[in-house]
Point group: C2
Chain length 344, copies 2
Amino acid sequence: MSSNIGGSVTLADVARHAGVSLATASRVLNGAGGRTVGATFRERVLRSAELLGYSPNAQAQAVARGASSLVGLVVHDISDPYFAAIAAGVTEAAEERDTTVVLASTRQQHERELDYLATLRQHRARAVVLVGSRWEDRAYHQLVTRELDAYRRTGGRVAAVSQDRLGVDTVQPLNNAGARDLARALVDLGHRSFAVLGGPEGLLTARDRVRGFREGLRDRSVSGDVPVVTGAFTRDGGYDATLQLLAGGQRPGCLFAVNDVMAVGAMAALRESGLSVPDDVAVAGFDDIETLRDVTPSLTTVALPLRDMGRQAAEMALTPGRDTPKLIRVRGEVILRDSTKVAG
Amino acid sequence: MSSNIGGSVTLADVARHAGVSLATASRVLNGAGGRTVGATFRERVLRSAELLGYSPNAQAQAVARGASSLVGLVVHDISDPYFAAIAAGVTEAAEERDTTVVLASTRQQHERELDYLATLRQHRARAVVLVGSRWEDRAYHQLVTRELDAYRRTGGRVAAVSQDRLGVDTVQPLNNAGARDLARALVDLGHRSFAVLGGPEGLLTARDRVRGFREGLRDRSVSGDVPVVTGAFTRDGGYDATLQLLAGGQRPGCLFAVNDVMAVGAMAALRESGLSVPDDVAVAGFDDIETLRDVTPSLTTVALPLRDMGRQAAEMALTPGRDTPKLIRVRGEVILRDSTKVAG
DNA sequence: CTGTTAGCGCCTTCAC
DNA sequence: GTGAAGGCGCTAACAG
């Protein structure tokens, strides 16, 4: 039935079975090539392929053609709803362009990102979509840039969903502006004393959101230094940071967690500490994670069109042509919900 | 710098630059092969590779070796936390085994699963992990089985996280048993009147959970037929189904949604209808989605070790040898929380 | 230890 | 319209 070891039926098998040349079989089975094939032969080949259960070897095709149909997707953590949502957008766009997605989840570790980038390059992925905050780490940043450059020199395309620091097409969430808008809105709501759950040290997204929030407060002339407690970019990070804040004697009227996941952790911590949200402490987040839209009290946040962002990044990465990096800025929308309601 | 069109540096380039044969270059650059290489040459090759920025072409290697390092991951919807969590486990296990994950998100559509399976086969993925409920659809089931068989005949390995109907290694959540345990626990808690939000028609996981729940009630001699409203396996599905239930004049003391995501939707619907949880209506879910652990009132559910399940499935799929399909049953653990509390 | 030489499965000129 | 032949980048015997 098959001649090779792997057990797979090869194009040669089909050709032989159909009594035609390899070239002919190849032409009917891949459609392209310009040249067309006679109806009789075409039928014969198709029938043989069907009969033998032929499945073209995509890897061999890629080698012969010098171009693969793989697109890499690099995220910090696929189980984090933020990344999962973006990933969904990427897979959609990829599917529409008949490309296959290779998933790389770095689990928040710098080096892995580099490793995965290298792996993706080895697989000759046609493009890679890099999603997630960049770090405040010059040395590392240089390594990534170097790797990306090498990748692009070989024809690979790159798009990012992150800060605009990679010199590639990027979908940039305006973290600063969003947090700033949020801060103003909160002040306008009547809040006066704040504290921030700032995310991990060195993560630009966290930093930008903290800065933006501070600016917003300044815009509204809220004086005093806002206490910032850092913590992991996770539910537990928010939980721990909040307990730490409370233990430090702080009791802000409003708590801004730099992302929704942390905000939820914060709400849990407050609740367990006997504090009610929003009456004792108001809470606001960032991202508008879909799964979290139903927490109670409903969470005030800055909504980001996550899925779309992923889709757009993938589209840019998979669209040839353009050589000057494109930048799509995404301004989040402040959504005021119950978690920041002011009594009266 | 490079000779080929794609711009990539090839092994031949490195060999030439280092003044050694292709074989030698290959040997030092891939380590394996049994044979070892002299220190001088080894150094020379390494230096040249480094200098030229050589990146081995994984596709070509796969073709030559007759074995790829790809492992497919097929999920219903990567943005659904259930699948995202399992995916995280799969990527972990894959990474440990130096394999690259190809992600396929079918978005709940039968046919796409088949398409992706075919694509995965074309890429000669060494294994595929199929995650998600199977359907009650004989014709379709047969197609999938056929495709999987073809795939396995060519040496591909398959593992599933689902019902045990594919004849492959599988991690099987005991949906029936879990729901049954839950029902009993709820009755023991004092609940007497129930309704079920049953998920989409034809989805086995939904069906099993409904059945199990019914059995549990029977075990505890709760009489009467439990009303079941079907709906999409999503937050909105739970929301809509609940409204429909209420509109139908039903007002159960306890509502069992076949998964957490639906349960959250149900809670939202109840709240909007002016009903309080758990006082007016208790709510229970299934899965114990991490992101949902902090909803209020906290959700009673059946916990499944999602990440581990994904990891185990991937490990089975990537472990050669064994020819008799292995079955790992996972019994969920009932976790009673506030959403089903009984007053007094 | 090193190099030569066939492949691997497929595509793609180039002739007929 | 069809086929023969060379090449894609790499690996794996097989000789030295």
